[in-house]
């Protein structure tokens, strides 16, 4: 349906834009007041399960599995927002998260043999980190939307790897190879926010907020315009929309999500080093988003859960060293056979079993 090469950029990963019944393709703006009307039984069940989870699971499952999945999911969500609604596949989302982490370490309290630590209180350091990351994200966005389509992936990868080498080589400010250690969330209300259950709830709250924000923006005028631009930029431009401004704003917004994830990640790890923003970690975020599926904001969280589970338990199935082989093969299979990720598999399965009778499958590739 799209004829321009630029407009086709995201075509293969997406089905036709107006599939009735597909939740990710909400094209009718609904008033914000009716937000409660969208809550279904499954939402309540999932939320209840998430709230009970830390009280039945072991600390390992609460912290290493669930909390890590949610914060990685939050970073991948920023990619899903850019790619799914904006048609821009950015590989620098982990870099944005890393910038937030570095900013928290530099402005806040941390320990490092070299580099700069200002030691400001967290309520100053964290907002600075998030705003700085959003600014960098907007800048990267502005650079990458100078050209479009497949070039975005190239430019964001080049920027991400370049910043990795900068972090690795710069000792005077960024502390080089060793990075910053002993970064902890603040002790607020007398609670140690890094112990498993409080950290789980902190991550859950922010992940839910991010999820809600993406769902909300997708239906807001800005999100609808963004989806219009994804589908046909030239037509939107002819309608009077400022395509560049929308794309840059989308990058900034996604940068905000990634930055929150980055702050959580640095608190989770307790440290930030160049390895956190190395190429394999940039690509891991893409893997998470692709495995989960980029058609719905739940996809990245699903992908993150699978990724974290594989990371922790694949060593029981194969050699510990060969994790990359497993995840690489899984990624390749998903890209080759189910471009919509696990969500696509799920909806295809549902269509096959006939439980979605009457509903056309949201996965309609090839025909578009």
């Amino acid at each position: 349906m799209n004829t321009g090469a630029g407009a086709q950029a995201w075509g293969p990963m997406r089905s036709s834009p107006s599939v009735p019944g597909a939740p990710s393709q909400v094209s009718v703006p609904s008033p914000a007041g009716s937000a409660l009307a969208h809550i279904r039984a499954r939402h309540v069940i999932v939320l209840a399960a998430l709230l009970i989870y830390p009280f039945v699971a072991t600390p390992f499952f609460t912290f290493q599995i669930a909390a890590q999945s949610m914060l990685l999911g939050l970073i991948a969500l920023s990619l899903m927002f850019l790619a799914g609604y904006g048609g821009m596949v950015s590989l620098s989302q982990m870099t944005i998260a890393g910038i937030a982490g570095y900013a928290v370490a530099i402005f806040g309290v941390s320990a490092t043999p070299e580099g700069v630590v200002l030691g400001w209180p967290w309520w100053l350091a964290v907002p600075i980190a998030i705003v700085a990351s959003m600014l960098v994200a907007a800048l990267i966005g502005w650079l990458s939307v100078r050209t479009d389509g497949i070039y975005t992936i190239m430019i964001t990868l080049a920027v991400g790897v370049a910043l990795y080498y900068l972090a690795l080589q710069n000792y005077s400010v960024l502390a080089g190879f060793q990075g910053f250690q002993k970064i902890a969330p603040p002790r607020l209300f007398g609670i140690d926010w890094r112990s498993p259950t409080p950290f789980y709830f902190l991550t859950l709250a922010l992940a839910l907020a991010g999820y809600w924000a993406v769902k909300y923006v997708a239906r807001a005028p800005f999100g609808l315009a963004l989806q219009g631009i994804r589908d046909n930029a030239r037509r939107m431009e002819a309608l009077g929309f400022d395509v560049t401004a929308h794309r840059v704003a989308a990058h900034a917004l996604a940068g905000g999500l990634a930055a929150v994830g980055g702050v959580l990640l640095v608190w989770y790890n307790g440290l930030i080093t160049p390895a956190s923003i190395a190429t394999n970690n940039l690509i891991n975020i893409l893997i998470i988003a692709v495995i989960g599926g980029m058609r719905h904001p739940i996809g990245p969280f699903l992908g993150a859960l699978v990724f974290v589970l594989l990371q922790n338990f694949a060593i029981d199935l194969v050699n510990r060293e060969r994790f990359n082989l497993v995840i690489g093969t899984g990624f390749l299979l998903i890209v080759l056979f189910s471009p919509d990720g696990l969500l696509g598999l799920w909806s295809r399965l549902r269509a096959r079993l006939g439980s979605g009778a009457g509903k056309p499958s949201p996965v309609r590739r090839g025909g578009a």
Binding site: G149, Q169, N170, N280, L325, V335
Partner: protein, 343 residues
Amino acid sequence: MSAVLKPGTYPGTDPRSGSVPKRSWRPWILAALWTPAVAFAIWALFFDNAKLFLLTTLNGITLAALYFVVAAGFTLVFGLMKNVNLAHGSLYLLGAYVGYFVGDRSGSWLLAVAAGFAAAAFVGLLLQVAIFRFMPGEDLRQTLVTIGISIIIADVFLWVFGAEVHQFDPPRWIFGSVPFPLVDRYPTYRLALLAIAVVLGVALWLFLQRTRVGMMIRAGVDDRAMLGASGVNVQLVFAITFAIGAGLAGFGGVVGATALSISPGEDTRYLLASLMVVIIGGMGSIPGAAVGALLIALAEQYGVAYAPTYGVVFQFAILVLALAFRPQGILGSAWTAGAKGRK
């Protein structure tokens, strides 16, 4: 302003007005870019260590030769197939390891070079015939597939060859160093590398400009559909191009491994270099790859010599400047920059 829009919400102006300089500004921008470079050269030559400057320049030019060899393959594949082959760095590593293996066993460097080229070209051919042929026009999916492949290849190499650094020597006739004006002596192999790159660049240019297959490739870059309509087997042209592009990466792997070394992680380094070279030089352009390689390699070497911890910042600044003022690359034609450039 039509009724669909909220007035004032979406300023419906031309998004590029004011952001891209008009043509009359160009001399000023060029002057602004060249003046600091020339000033730096004068300072380094006459007020600082002239020998260091010349040596750094030579290092930069010979490194550019290597970057050019690798990036030329990248840009060739990209220009024709719109496939950002993110496994290009892995093909470099493949060529390097195969070359090392063959060179180690046979003792012949020339055989190692040939084997590196052939192995990478064969894998490239395999990728095109077995995978990319089945997803025509889906450039994003092809790119994601190359990411998956690069992860797998990198891990297999780590498995087979381990994490240690491999190195092998060039043949005796280009080993050692030769007298060189102003810097006393310079490694012969690095000069040979420069010669190889120049010969290769000219050969590639002649191949693309003067042969029938080259003509088809250029036609395919301009308009794939029209090339197919005029009776050319486009899949065959794609396969040949992919094999040559991948082979160049493998070739670069062997000559690069001889000059420097091979270790896991080198794939990322050369992928980054290739990306930067083609973004700066212009995507799909061989002369653009030469210009981009020179800029990137010189920036890297000057950075290493004069500002060690900020070396990558210079490369990054060049990348940003190129994207800001010439999104299609220095020698890229306007249409290669996607929908925007077409208007």
